[in-house]
């Protein structure tokens, strides 16, 4: 089943055509990687999906529903979570409170499953998210004071606390150590058991080990799309990007 479908999606900033007539769809349950050179339009494209910016033209469907004109918060509540390319947390609040802020707006497939016990429930879900990324021990620290790698994990935990159907990462491994990157890959595989994952990634070994399919962006357009092997062997991609 298609989870998400974008049709003819375009975005221009003044004269710059950052995203141009992109057709794109996501299969439920897959891990999709988006790769492409700096300035290719990757962040702009996923920002259109999350609602952070509005499209100049084109449509977006999520679970068969047109979400093109929905504001950000409504898309989140439909199950689309987005983590920023530049770490964006609540630095003055504790790690647990950061996760609780997300857990409060947890996605529920049907109103009937929304629990009524309020706060305890929020903290239970926040805790579960911290546990999943492995930073429970830091829960009472101010988020601004923990290590960068842990802040990235907190970002992921905030995404998870939303219980999303689709989790979008924008360059999640940027600035992480090799060991942290390995852990991150394990984490994504685990997350993928229940959630569709879309990630923008420059690190090709991460892409090759995680992605079921890869979409290559070049100057605002989709240059190629396919399995890791197909992309590796694609002549256009090699010429334009992999070198």
């Amino acid at each position: 089943m298609k989870l998400l479908r974008a049709h003819n999606l375009s975005k221009s900033f003044g004269g710059v055509q950052a995203v141009q007539d992109v057709d794109f769809d996501l299969e439920q349950g897959e891990i999709r990687a988006i790769i492409g050179a700096n300035g290719a339009g990757k962040t702009t494209f996923v920002s259109l999906l999350s609602g952070r910016i509005t499209a100049t033209a084109g449509t977006i469907e999520f679970r068969g529903q047109d979400i093109t004109d929905l504001p950000i918060h409504k898309r989140v509540r439909k199950g689309i979570a987005y983590t920023f390319q530049i770490t964006s947390i609540f630095p003055n609040l504790t790690v647990l409170e950061n996760a609780a802020i997300a857990a409060q707006n947890r996605f529920h497939a049907s109103p009937a499953t929304i629990p009524t016990d309020g706060h305890p429930d929020i903290y239970r879900n926040a805790n579960a998210a911290l546990q999943q990324v492995g930073i429970t021990a830091l829960q009472d620290e101010p988020a601004g004071a923990i290590a960068y790698g842990h802040q990235r994990l907190l970002e992921v935990a905030m995404g998870l606390a939303l219980n999303p159907l689709l989790l979008i990462f924008d360059e999640p491994t940027q600035g992480l150590s090799d060991a942290e990157i390995q852990d991150f890959c394990k984490l994504v595989k685990q997350i993928n058991q229940s959630t569709t994952v879309l990630l923008i990634e420059h690190n090709m070994s991460v892409v090759m080990s995680l992605a079921h399919r890869i979409t290559v962006f070049d100057r605002g357009q989709v240059l190629a799309q396919g399995s890791p092997d197909q992309i590796r062997n694609n002549a256009n991609v090699q010429a334009a990007y992999l070198g």
């Binding site: 802020i101 309020g118 903290y123 101010p142």
Partner: protein, 325 residues
């Protein structure tokens, strides 16, 4: 400033603390000399104003320089209806509160399109418009000179009992009751989901939005609560002290709300009340020695912003009592 985790031990401590404050204020009236008795009544009303201001500034992170207009909406909403239409005290009081709520929504729809410095300027300009309006409609407001409510319009029947607002003890205890109600409204608001949403907006609005919060609606709600509480203080002031003048809508009063909040501790329930108490007496004492008490206000403001941004209770909370709401 993190809302501490909910646990029953903390809520018992918190409720005891707030009750203790109310009880102390209640007992004070029996020992205070007349002058201070009256001063405390004023302070409690202004504390309601500051606590309302704090919902927007301390918890939501929006610095308004125009809250005097909400105080004024309550003051005139109650005062004009009592004076010109002869409305009874309860009706006039309600009309002041409703005027404040309506003005809050209106101002919210205009000013919440902006944030930061632009928000300060827009709220200041709107408050200036409100101030000029009180002068422009001099026929009804008598501008600077103001209106004085008649003796007769200041008592009302309440479940068979006659409440006389010229009685100092009645005024003191009514103000105290309203302060207690305000405290519990704010406490409930900031301890719940709304409080978490407000703090999320204060700390990082784009992220809050990306975590599913309708930040405009939440800010509008904060402004509505904030403006309506400020108006409640204004309406109380008008009815208890029987004087309604445009000086209450000047920028001076907007700055006072900011100052009281900064001194006591933005983002804490009791901070603004403490700040109001201390600042009121500071200015009171300073004005015995100098007519330049505005200078005191200005200097205090600069000092607080530069060296003491968490205020008294904010600092205590940060250092020693993280459970303080």
């Amino acid at each position: 400033m993190t809302p501490a985790k909910i646990n029953s031990g903390n809520s018992r401590k918190i409720i005891s603390l707030h009750l203790a404050v109310i009880v102390i204020l209640f007992l004070l009236q029996f020992v205070l000399p007349e002058y201070h008795h009256l001063t405390m009544t004023r302070i409690m009303i202004l504390a309601i104003f500051a606590m309302g201001y704090n919902v927007l500034f301390g918890y939501t992170g929006l610095l308004s320089l125009g809250h005097a207009m909400f105080f004024g909406a309550g003051l005139y909403g109650a005062g004009l209806t009592a004076y010109h239409l002869g409305w009874s005290v309860p009706l006039a009081f309600a009309s002041g509160i409703i005027a404040g709520a309506l003005l809050s929504l209106l101002v919210g729809c205009i000013a919440l399109r902006t944030t930061g410095v632009a928000f300060m300027i827009v709220t200041m300009m709107l408050a200036q418009v409100a101030y000029l309006a009180t002068l422009y409609f001099t026929r009804y407001t008598r501008g600077d000179e103001g209106l004085v409510l008649s003796q007769a319009s200041r008592s009302f029947e309440f479940f068979g009992a006659t409440v006389d607002l010229t009685n100092p003890s009645t005024r003191y205890n009514l103000s105290l009751a309203l302060l207690g109600i305000t405290m519990s409204i704010i406490y409930r608001l900031v301890r719940g989901k709304t409080g978490r949403a407000l703090v999320a907006i204060r700390e990082n609005e784009p992220r809050a939005q990306m975590l599913g919060y309708n930040t405009f609606a939440i800010k509008l709600k904060a402004l509505l609560v904030s403006g309506t509480l400020s108006a409640t203080a204004g309406a109380t002031f008008a009815l208890l002290f029987a004087y309604i003048g445009s000086s209450f809508t000047t920028i001076q009063y907007s700055i006072d709300a900011l100052l009281f909040t900064l001194l006591g501790g933005p983002g804490t329930v009791l901070g603004p009340a403490l700040g109001t108490f201390l600042m009121f007496y500071l200015v009171d004492i300073a004005s015995q020695y100098t007519t330049a008490y505005l200078l005191v206000t200005g200097l205090a403001l600069i000092f607080l912003v530069l060296y003491f941004p968490k205020g008294i209770l904010g600092t205590i909370k940060h250092r020693w009592l993280p459970w303080l709401p």
